[in-house]
Structure formats: C-alpha cells, structure tokens
Amino acid sequence: MTQTHEFEVIIVGGGGAGLMAAMYASQGAKTAVISKLYPSRSHTGAAQGGIGAALGNSEEDHAEWHTFDTVKGSDYLGDQDAIEFMCLEAVQSVYDLEHMGLPFSRTPDGRIAQRYFGGHTNNVTGKPVMRSCYAADRTGHMILQTLYQQCIKNGIRFFDEYHVMDLLIENGAVAGVVAYELATGELHVFRAKAVIIATGGYGRIWEITSNAYSFTGDGVALTLRRGIPAEDMEFFQFHPTGILRLGILITEAVRGEGGVLINDKGERFMERYASHVKDLASRDVVSRAMYLEMREGRGIGGKRYLYLDVRPDTVNKYAEADGRTRPDGSLYRVTAQEILSKIPDITDFCRTYLGVDPVKDPIPVQPTAHYAMGGIPTDKLGRVVVDENNTVLPGLYAAGEVACVSVHGANRLGTNSLVDLIVFGKHAGIDAAKYAQGASLQPLPDDPTAYTQETIHKLMTGDGSEKVAEITRDLRAMMFDHVGVFRIEEGLKEAQVKLEELKERYQHVCVRDQSKQYNTELTNTWELGNLLDLAQAVTVAALARTESRGAHAREDYPKRDDANWLKHSLAWMKDGQIVLGYKPVTITKYQPKERVY
C-alpha cells in the first residue's frame, strides 16, 4: 500500500549539502530529508583535508585570490559570477560552521588552523597560501557530524533508508518524489512544493575510485530520465593519490604538509611539470603527470603506481630545497610526530590496507576517480535550470556534488567541494523555503508510482541470463580504460559501443531476492541502471569535446580551444540516446589565459 506524505520542502540526500539545505529550509517551511543511508553514513564524511576560505588566519589572503585561483583551476570553464559569490560566502560559512560547534584544529593563538592545498596561491607571489581550514584529516567527517547534530537540535524530520526513485513534475513544476522504503519494500509518495536534490556524485562508474558504494549518481540519473539535462558531464576529476588498487583517498593535505610524489628513479617528477608549485599543482595536472611518468616506464618497478613520500627526512629535504618557511620566517622542518598528528586517519588507512607506516615508508598511490564537476545545472541559488537559456524549473533545486552551478568548471580545486556544499546547500535551502511560501502543491499525476513500479517489476522478473555484478565490473573496467585521465577518439567510440552492449545485457538481469524487507539486491540493481545512463552521458559528451581542458584530456586534441569550446555542454537523454547542446560560460573579471602552475 503506497503511503502519501505532504511537505513544503523535500530534500533528497542527507550529506553535507542536504543537511545544510535542511537547516535553512526548515526555518521557513515544513521540511523533511529523505536519504537512502543514515545521514551520518554519507560520503561528505570521507572528505579529509579541509574547506577553503580566505580567513587569512596564518598569512595574508583574500576572497578575490580564492576566486581567481578557482577560475584558473576550472580552466576558465567555471562561471565567474558564481565562483565570486562562493568564495566571498565561504568566509562567513566557515565561521558559521565554527559557531555550530565544528571542532576545527587551531592555531597557537586559538583561531581556525589553515594549511596549504593544491592550486591555492598568493596571487602576488604565486606561492602556495594557507587557505584550507581543517580538523586534522577528517574535516568532512566533522562537517557531516556537526550538521547532523544541528539537525537533531532543530528537530528536522528524517526518512532514513528511503531510496528516492522518481521525480514527479506536473504543470511544468515540481510535484514531489517517489521513494522506496528499504525496511518494508513499500513505495511512498512525498508531495512537496519544492524538492532539493543533494545525492552526491557517481564515481562508481570507474574501477579505481575513492567513492563510496552508494555514490551511484541517483540524482542526476533521476533528472535525466525526467527530461532535465546534465551539464559538463565530460569533466570528472581523478585525484592523484588513491591507495594502490583500492582507490581510497589520500588527502592532498599530505602534500600540503610537505609530502612529495616520487617515481621509480627516485625523482620528484612534479618539478618538471609544474615548476612553481610542483606537487601542489591542481589535481588534473598532477594526475596527468603521473600517467605520463608511468607511461614512460617510471612507475614503481615499471608498474602502474608511484610513491607518495611524507617521511620527515624527505619532507625536510625538499622543504629546504624549496626555501619553504613557517609563517614566523623560520625554516619549515617537521618531525614524525607532527606528521602523524596532522594525518592520523591517513596513517590508519596506510597501516590497515597497505601495512605501510607513512612516516617510515613511502605510500604506493595511483590516480583515483574522485569528483564529478558536472551534474544537474543550477544557478547560484540552487535553482535547476533546464536549457541553454537557463530557464528555471519551478520548485526544483540541486546542491553539492550532484549539481553543476558551475563553480568547478573543468577541474575542481581541493577544498572547494566542501565550500560548494556549504554555500550552495545553504542558499538552496533558503530559496526553496521562500519559493514554497508563495507556491501551492501541484496535483499528483494519476498513477504517481507507475514508472517506479513498472521498473521494479521488470528488474524482478528478468530472464536472469546476466549478472549485475558482472555488468558492474565490466562497466567500471571499461570506463577506467577508455574514459579515464586520458581520452582519445578511438577509445571513446569503443566505449560507446561497449556501453550499448552493457545496456543490452542489463535488460537481462533478474533480482533473485524476492523479499520485501531490505532487498538490497534490488537497490543495487536499480543503481546499476543509473550508472549506465551516466556513463553514457559522460562518454558522449567526452567524445564531442575535441579539445583538452581541465580534467578532460584528449590525446588527439591536446590543446585548449577557447574559440570553439569555451562553453558548457548539456546532455539530454532522449529515447535512450544522449543528445547534446551547449550554453555560454559567464566571464566577468578574468579573461581566459594560458594555465601554468
């Protein structure tokens, strides 16, 4: 029996963006959060190194510098009005988090501690600047916990372990969502005046990824199926330092604290690729350099990995070579104890999964699929815009990794994902409540759960000649090979063909577990359908873009081509095929120029 609920604002997803939106939306509207996980399980909790904001606590810094660094990091594909807004708002947002109780690490004078991070610079000297506000190496964990705590304090209504499967749109406006309750297998219809989608990214389409099992792009897949385009899907970030084979993230803060990347010959090879900031170049640059080193046979033992070395002797040697100093002017020197205190979780991961002690041994790393720059197109208030003219779909919002504002453009700077979800989560929440106050509930379609029921029925009655686990494995391996750090026309075309095959195979899967309660085989199978749709959008958009920009590196088109490609892509799903359109980039203060680190 389908239950129907009524709220003014529904938030889908209980991570950083969703909880932030909930706190602000609930101040002006009857709000609920629907999440397929307990909110504290959300992937925001895996973020490590920090949240960027120009507080200037340890040295001079300005929101304008953060803005320019983000524009440059985006390879000029980010919308500059939105970036400026985010970097200005970042400062107050970090103070807000502190006021909510977030236990930031502290400076000796008791202020929020800040550290170096890739791509964040003093715009005058070009040297790295301490902008990343951190809580040891578990900043995301502390943000998630703090926001969840505040939601409890404010009595926010949660529907935990409800998997949203459909978005209802009537009369051109949002009418609600359909969700599957894991504990009972029942469908629920949530009527709402406004819906904020905050479901995170989709790194699970790649074999080596830092992303959680649950990062299956549910939000983007949901809106794609309902005729809403996905923006800039060809831009997906590969983080340079994932734990070998497992892809588990090793924060950039390790390099911020002085760690360096080393090849098989013992060289600090980033000197050759980014002579100014070296290991603290932005992520796309470092990941490509690592691939080139490995291709030249300089991976460790000739294999496809390199070393991240944060042993005190190594750190001190290169800090001296770089002339690195502390804020008081003294030479930068570290002890093993200091390193361990800055990266306790990383130390634990290395010991648990690699049997390696990071202050005694170098860490074997390889680039890992990490972050979706693309997603559901929004404006800076989080409103979803559905075409080349940025037409708003009334009542629909998106925030966090699922959204594409776009503030990250072709490549996101480290720390800016947390800035994004705090700033735009907040503003989506505020605007959704405001919208809800002046809007009425849309009527429901005749049979609101029809699509969901039909799809579930199909998955549970397939012929079973194919296995979800095998399709998932093949998809991830194929995407890592052909639609990874480097791309080329032949590979992308092959990926398209393979994706057609995988989608055909998906028609033959069958969920064997016929039970209603906690049927996670069904939800896994549903999620694979989402991943296949998104892989297709990524591949088609990547094949069309015949240039290299940020994270999208085409070997057959190695240069950025502003004359033809300084534009956002929009991918629509029509009859199972991806159709592309484009819209302009907003440029205010910073004209595109060559990007050198």
Binding site: S40, A46, H99, G101, R111, T146, Y518
Partner: protein
C-alpha cells in the same frame, strides 16, 4: 589466491521461523577486506545476502558486524588479519536483527539523541570564530572521531542485558561536548548521564575500547564523564586501571 570459508548468520523474517547459518567457500586474496568477500558472495553466489555498506574504508560506519565474535567493520578487517579456518560472520549483538546482518539501529540512535549531541552555547556568536586554545581543542579530540557505527555499544555486556542503558557510543558523544570549552550544556548532559540508565551501568569491561574501529579510548572517556559527575571537575584526566 587461497580458499576461505565463511559461515554467515542468515535470517529472512518473511521466510524463516528462526535464524540459521549458511556456509560459503570462495577464492580470496590475503589483502581482501571481509567486505570484499561479502560483496563477492552477494554478487556471484547469493544475491539475497543482506548487509549495509557504503564507504568501504572505515569512515561511514555502515558495515559494523561480528566477525569471529568481535564487533568490527567488515571493511577494516582483512582476510590475513584473521586466524586460519572458518570465518564466522554474524549481526551485531543486543539490537533486533531485521534481516541477515542488518540490525535495527533505532534504539542506538535514540540513545545518541538523549545526551543532546550538539553544541549548546547561548551567547551571541562573535563576528569571527570563537577562540579555543590548542590544548582546549586537544581535550576532546579523541571523542570527535566517533562514526556512530554502534560497534562499541553492541559489544557492551551491560547493554546486552539492559537495552535502556545509553551505552558507550552515547557517552562518547556526550564527552565530545562536555569537554569542549565552547559548550554550555554540561550540567544538563551530566544530569541525563547520572540517571540509573546513564553512565553508572558501565562496568568498565573495556569491550567498547577493544571494539572501536576508530581507536577511541572509550573506557577512558566514560571514566572522565563519571569523574565529572562525581566531582564536577572537568579538568582532571582520568585513566582507568588496566589500560595500557
């Protein structure tokens, strides 16, 4: 590659009158996580095997379960960490089993909410951050690591016998605020914890500390809360006997 045998607790309330165990044998690498073996079984042998998981590297807290009798995260135990022989996988103890390895976490989160797990500070916030010294911040660092996985509470014998006991995880989260120099809710929290089902149910068994996948010194935190209730003193560091 070698072979491993997993004996797994199974219970589907829609079919089974009572729980039973299924045994699976599969090829494993020594570095495989127990979660990897469960994923393999679910993907290739028996799709109905039900468990929670998300991040797969010990920070989200989804996949707490009993592995060879100990509360652990399945993503933080490798095959090579276990003694040779059959690997026994069971749901957490002390909470109702809903299906296979999935337990009802409602009582666990209810206890968490009882101790006011949020900063209480009624002063108007300053323009910038509130100041806190490095030493003040370090005072409660250990208990900020909690991921609410429930491994500790479900390893606690007093909790097994009395589910009304708030349990170690709730006390850890109370500690995180009681010893935060910015917090003003200490009196109320200590009042909650001084009740009969509060902190005094702890018998200093140390199972919680042993179970914590984040390495939190839980028994120490509980002892500090007990000390605070008895003396009103928030500054003294208490180390329970037995702890190294």
């Amino acid at each position: 590659m070698s072979q491993a045998t997993l004996k797994i607790y199974r219970y589907n309330p829609e079919e089974d009158a009572k729980p039973h165990y299924d045994t699976f044998t599969l090829e494993v690498e020594p570095e495989d996580r127990i979660l990897d073996t469960l994923e393999h079984i679910k993907g290739y042998i028996d799709g109905s095997l039900s468990f929670r998981r998300s991040c797969a590297h010990g920070v989200c807290g989804s996949d707490a379960m009993r592995i060879n009798g100990h509360s652990r995260l399945a993503c933080k135990v490798l095959v090579k960490d276990l003694d040779a022989g059959e690997i026994l996988i069971e749901p957490l103890l002390g909470l109702p089993v809903l299906k296979d390895l999935i337990v009802d976490l409602t009582p666990f989160f209810d206890h968490y909410k009882e101790i006011m797990p949020y900063l209480v500070n009624n002063d108007p916030p300053p323009e910038k951050e509130r100041l806190q010294s490095e030493a003040e911040r370090a005072r409660f660092d250990d208990t900020t690591k909690c991921i609410l996985c429930a491994a500790c509470t479900t390893a606690c014998p007093p909790f097994w016998s009395n589910r009304r006991y708030v349990g170690p995880a709730a006390i850890v989260n109370a500690h995180r605020f009681i010893f935060d120099s910015r917090d003003q809710g200490t009196a109320e929290r200590l009042e909650v914890l001084a009740r009969p089902d509060g902190v005094w149910r702890c018998r200093t068994v140390f199972n919680c500390t042993e179970a914590c996948p984040r390495g939190i010194r839980i028994t120490k935190a509980i002892a500090e809360v007990k000390h605070a209730i008895e003396t009103g003193d928030l500054t003294t560091f208490v180390t329970p006997v037995e702890e190294e």
